[in-house]
């Protein structure tokens, strides 16, 4: 076919060829547009000079950004979410990491079962988890509120931490630890100076994941938080009356913060490799 000069191809063929070559790019553009239009919308409406409801565009203003706590309760709700997120993340990360080491490094009776049970909370519908946690708390005569919410968040985050950290441990060359022991480091020092630093990226990733899961959670929180208002709960409640533009400010900030963390992580990694 190499005698046929390309310019003489009929127009229809040329168009279909162009599509054939660029279909993945076109698909990607559509995909990203689909993913980011809601984010863009949220970001744009954080600058809306909104009245009671933030549904129609009424002109540009910085005031939502300069005064993010302007709407009633928005900052106390955010504060609650961050507090719960930080405590739950810390506890879930520590416990999950320990479990991951136990499963990843040691053979013991019930290891396979543990492995399986760890996956269960991820597979269980949140409504079921939330409802049964509430039932359990009430059975123990614990009133819904701040601490039951923390406990619930720790519970569903642990599985994700275990899975993330375990993957990192599995990729760790056992010879590195043997080398450390060979070079006069005892068990504690080996863990501190070789094992932990090498597993750290996995633990950090797990912590970020746990925090965003906790911050984001509505269903389980709604069952177990009682009168306590978290940020997702605040957004849900105010949706009935009209969500204040400050919610868009906080949502956009979270998005840019996450983006920043991911990009910074990539840059640090690239520097390490080079």
């Amino acid at each position: 076919m190499n005698q046929a000069p390309i310019p003489t191809l009929p127009l229809g063929r040329r168009i279909s060829r162009w599509f054939g070559r660029n279909i993945i790019r076109i698909y990607a553009v559509f995909g990203f547009t689909y993913l980011f239009i809601p984010v863009l919308y949220t970001f744009a409406f954080s600058f809306n000079n909104a009245g009671k409801s933030n549904l129609t565009w009424r002109g540009f203003t910085w005031s939502n950004w300069t005064n993010p706590c302007g709407a009633p309760e928005v900052c106390s709700a955010l504060g609650n979410s961050i507090k719960i997120g930080l405590i739950a993340t810390t506890v879930a990360t520590i416990m999950g990491t320990l479990i991951a080491f136990a499963i990843g490094r040691h053979r013991f009776r019930g290891r396979t079962t543990t492995n399986l049970l760890i996956f269960l909370p991820m597979a269980t519908p949140e409504v079921v988890l939330g409802a049964s946690l509430l039932a359990m708390f009430l059975a123990f005569r614990i009133n819904p509120g701040f601490w039951p919410t923390v406990i619930a968040h720790v519970m569903f985050s642990i599985s994700f931490v275990v899975v993330t950290v375990k993957a990192r441990i599995a990729s760790l060359d056992p010879r590195l630890e043997q080398a450390a022991m060979d070079l006069y480091a005892n068990e504690m020092e080996t863990f501190k100076r070789v094992t932990l630093p090498l597993v750290m990226p996995g633990i950090a990733g797990a912590a970020l994941l746990a925090f965003s899961l906790s911050f984001d959670d509505f269903i389980i929180t709604n069952f177990n938080s009682g009168t306590l208002v978290t940020f997702p709960k605040f957004v849900y409640i105010s949706a009935a009356r009209g969500i204040p533009a400050q919610a868009n400010v906080i949502g956009s900030s979270m998005f840019f913060l996450a983006l920043f963390i991911v990009i910074a992580g990539q840059l640090v990694n690239r520097k390490k490799v080079r």
Binding site: Q178, A180, L183, Y184, A185, L198
Partner: protein, 378 residues
């Protein structure tokens, strides 16, 4: 913590060491003494137990039975970090999150040594990588990583340095160069090196003493020349270099030598070089010891007649012939390309001859092919 400087006097002694994993015996009742200051090689095919032996010396495995001493100190059950032993791991096992400097300084810091900076710089100079201190291991080539792994171990001046296939991951040219460098460094620092390898050439180039291992036991131990010239089993004869092993029967003996009947032809074998206790014997001769010539040409020493050249390959320094003997066995002959002999072609009838003292005799009940084609796995 063991103080490397005080316990560095003494030989390594393995006494009746056995290591089993379930039903499998990796090391079988092994007794071995490695003198201080020597470059010792454990050579054998994969699965022969050499790495397990090394790991027991390092403290990474505990023997099922037996004891390990360095000098008079029993280290059998000591933790790896309590032994004056350091290891160069097969894939180097450099710490990826630490700089080259911190990698090399790791052992010194754990032992609380004072002049860390000075010692690290000195050893980096020894391995000829003085300007790499600030880099990370991934920024180094394989050969450079290998040297850092070596530096990280020898900077601690252990009584014993273990090398687990240290050159296995390097390409051939670099491997040759590192063989010479390792030997030089060993002489320079004067430590005992125990080197595990499946590469017979590597072992022969570097080690003073080689122990050839097979199926968890030591088949033979000695200097490279001793093992090569006087192998005592078919496994050693085939694993170290190549050998022609031919079945024969001792017909008669007088004084210093015996006459062996080999498929109707007579071969003379020195009694001192015969390892067989019965009249059944395997005649051994190295391919490069044999001269090859037209039937009328060669008569001196031991001769075997009736061969037909079946294959000729020119490999530069020598020409390698495969000669088919009347009893349907192929023999290898390496002939130096020094212009002394005319080039033969496939199909030519030939006679083989060699000086009588080059002949060695092995137990006739052995498998002619034991240990052949087992090396070169890397």
């Amino acid at each position: 913590m063991a103080d490397a400087s005080t316990s560095s006097h003494g030989d390594l002694k393995l006494t009746r060491i056995t290591k089993s994993f379930g039903d499998f015996t990796a090391v079988d009742d092994m007794t071995l003494t490695i003198p201080q200051g020597s470059f010792f090689a454990l050579l054998g095919p994969s699965g022969c137990g050499k790495t397990t032996t090394l790991r027991m010396i390092a403290g990474l495995e505990e023997p099922t039975a037996g004891s390990i001493h360095i000098g008079d100190t029993d280290i059998t059950t000591k933790k790896p970090y309590q032994r004056p032993v350091n290891t160069v791991f097969q894939n180097y096992a450099l710490f990826p999150h630490l700089s080259i400097f911190e990698n090399v300084a790791f052992g010194l810091r754990r032992r609380g040594v004072k002049d860390v900076k000075e010692q690290v710089e000195k050893v980096l100079k020894l391995v000829e990588l003085p300007h790499f201190a600030d880099r990370k291991p991934t920024q180094l080539s394989g050969g450079q990583q290998q040297r850092i792994a070596l530096a990280r171990a020898i900077v601690n001046r252990p009584a014993l340095l273990l090398l687990d296939e240290p050159l296995g991951a390097l390409d051939l040219k670099l491997r040759r160069q590192m063989q010479i460098e390792l030997k030089w460094i060993q002489t320079e620092v004067g430590l005992t090196f125990v080197h595990v390898t499946h590469d017979q050439e590597e072992a022969m180039t570097m080690a003073d003493t080689i122990a050839v291992m097979n199926e968890g036991r030591i088949e033979q131990m000695g200097s490279p020349a001793e093992l090569y010239e006087s192998p005592c089993t078919a496994f050693v004869a085939n694993f170290l270099g190549q050998s022609n092993l031919i079945r024969g029967k001792i017909e008669s003996s007088d004084g210093e030598s015996s006459v062996v009947q080999v498929n109707g032809q007579k071969i003379s074998l020195l009694k001192s070089r015969n390892r067989s206790s019965t009249s059944s014997v395997l005649i051994g001769i190295r391919p490069e010891k044999i001269r090859i010539g037209l039937p009328e040409g060669l008569t001196s020493g031991n001769t075997l007649t009736g061969g037909i050249v079946s294959d000729v390959s020119f490999v530069g320094v020598s020409t390698q012939y495969v000669v088919e003997m009347p009893w349907k066995q192929d023999l290898m002959v390496f002939e130096q390309n020094d212009g002394g002999t005319p080039t033969l072609r496939a199909g030519d009838p030939v006679t083989l001859s060699w000086n009588e003292p080059f002949t060695f005799g092995l137990d006739g009940s052995e498998d002619v092919n034991a240990g052949a084609e087992m090396d070169g796995e890397a």
